[in-house]
Symmetry: C2
Subunit: 358 residues, 2 copies
Amino acid sequence: MDKYLSRRAKELVPYVPGEQPIGGNLIKLNTNENPYPPSLKALEAMKDATDKRLKKYPKPECEPLRKAIALVENLPDYTYVYVGNGSDEILAFCFQAFFDDDKDVLFPDVTYSFYPVYCALYGLKYREIPLDKNLRINLDDYAGESAGIIFPNPNAPTGEYIELSYIEALLAKNMDKVVIVDEAYIEFGGESAAKYIEKYPNLLIIRTMSKSHSLAGLRLGYAMGQPHLIDGIIRVKNSFNSYTCDTIAQAGATMSILDTEYKNAACAKIAETRDKTAKKLHEIGFELTNSKSNFLFVKHPEIDGEYIFNELRKSNILVRHFKKPERISQHLRISIGTDKQMEKLVEVLKKIVAEGQH
Amino acid sequence: MDKYLSRRAKELVPYVPGEQPIGGNLIKLNTNENPYPPSLKALEAMKDATDKRLKKYPKPECEPLRKAIALVENLPDYTYVYVGNGSDEILAFCFQAFFDDDKDVLFPDVTYSFYPVYCALYGLKYREIPLDKNLRINLDDYAGESAGIIFPNPNAPTGEYIELSYIEALLAKNMDKVVIVDEAYIEFGGESAAKYIEKYPNLLIIRTMSKSHSLAGLRLGYAMGQPHLIDGIIRVKNSFNSYTCDTIAQAGATMSILDTEYKNAACAKIAETRDKTAKKLHEIGFELTNSKSNFLFVKHPEIDGEYIFNELRKSNILVRHFKKPERISQHLRISIGTDKQMEKLVEVLKKIVAEGQH
């Protein structure tokens, strides 16, 4: 029945997100969710918004939420902010709004695997720029002709953070095209490039509330940049769906953004657990990247990655194993849970390593 | 700063939804919202879902909601149902999934004005098929070569309903392409084409919960068709955003779908108010289409449409005036509110007509 599909739809190879198992006593460390609950104030705001007003369409411009983000991020006003139904939706709009098909979009060769999927969806060409031998992005490699540049900072799934001075140099060298910095994981230890927004008309920053705000279930992401870039995203959005963010999500996200104290404490706790866990995994023989995100990216020099993945699964611990590309086929990406969950992980990994080395 | 926009984004002329004024004592009859509140059971379900579980991603396949819809619509199982972040999003995915650019997409010349916007967004060609002199769709005009066919039943903004026998004939004559019936307003008096789904592999039906379920603020729509068509939409969705429906919306929509008694009573009440109001407007000289939806489409033979729109606005009544195309520039689309709101509307229109005829 493929005969009903458009040529493009036939060719698509959709993105595959991490497994979302139902029920069970699983320790779920495979999709970079936050182990702590969302802000209580945000939950209250959502309950308060759940009433007869839902019969009306949501605020199409989402001003209160955009204003809250502008306030917290020190931006001049809400026209520097776009909010959408998850950062993936915003990324999709950006690929349509800012990239043309006559040149390549550039992104790292090991990175968020949705980027090439967007290119296929919108008929764009791309070129993957290899990470260096330490699995790091070298921004000097992104020079020359391109349709635009996108990379996460910290990168996923490596967790490696790029110092801002390199990003500023890249922005200055690419004033004629949009440079998108995907800061999904910035709040776990990196410094945001948001401070360059007023200086660089080509800088667009993407954030998600799924990780740092514990709101993966709510679908809320945002973009920050100069108003002409925000307007470009809005043009595409208004040609796709007039109302992408529902009333309850707008209310909850606004309160969560304003509850900076709670979010900062949760992110700091996760960073502490990450560093503690990294140390322990190093001690039992794992090799780790220098992750500044809410996950670790590890491999064991002697034991097969898929074997470890399967052994963890037998012990009810779910992590992420990408298989492809080849150079990360031995790695596992392990989301940071609570201290207790990570202690259990280390304990099980110790056993797997001891048995695997026999 | 247009230099940062892609060629396609530069050319877009986005859809403009009806105005969403903030505050005031406005009687808002401009965006076809339902005047009655959502199901109380649905509101309860949403509050119950608003807790720490929001830290996890939503169910990516939305099975409980899809199962509820399959049950209520007498479909074999949930693989016949797709759910999305509003029916507009689903329509956008369908234009990508099923239409190619080598032939024209066909739709009526007066219809939902988002259809040509989707064509522009995805680089598709289209041909608008004129309504007949009574502003009705004649499906015999949709014969011959095309990339696919889409029309609302009842049509918007005319409200005119097409008998199912005509739709079945169209399906039978176009077995090689997808025919999309946009049933945003079907629950206010028409019969759904859903009964043809098992017979016709080319039929796709789109619904929204914004109108009949009083959930415009929640952003939930769905599609019904044979599994190969549903899978086509899912292919595009999974190349765009892994999770389009948030946890709270899934919970609320599921309960609202199952609370058929409440929804049916609200829709029947709206249909009754519509027919009563139509009779009164006819008595004071208005010409009306035969609307089976939750709005009336009216014009006065002697008084300018824009003048009436502005006079209503002065009396704090907001309706929709499209201006374009020319043949509906004298019409107003008036959403059906409560009996009390419609009595006020009739009272004000009586005055406007009396003054306008002086």
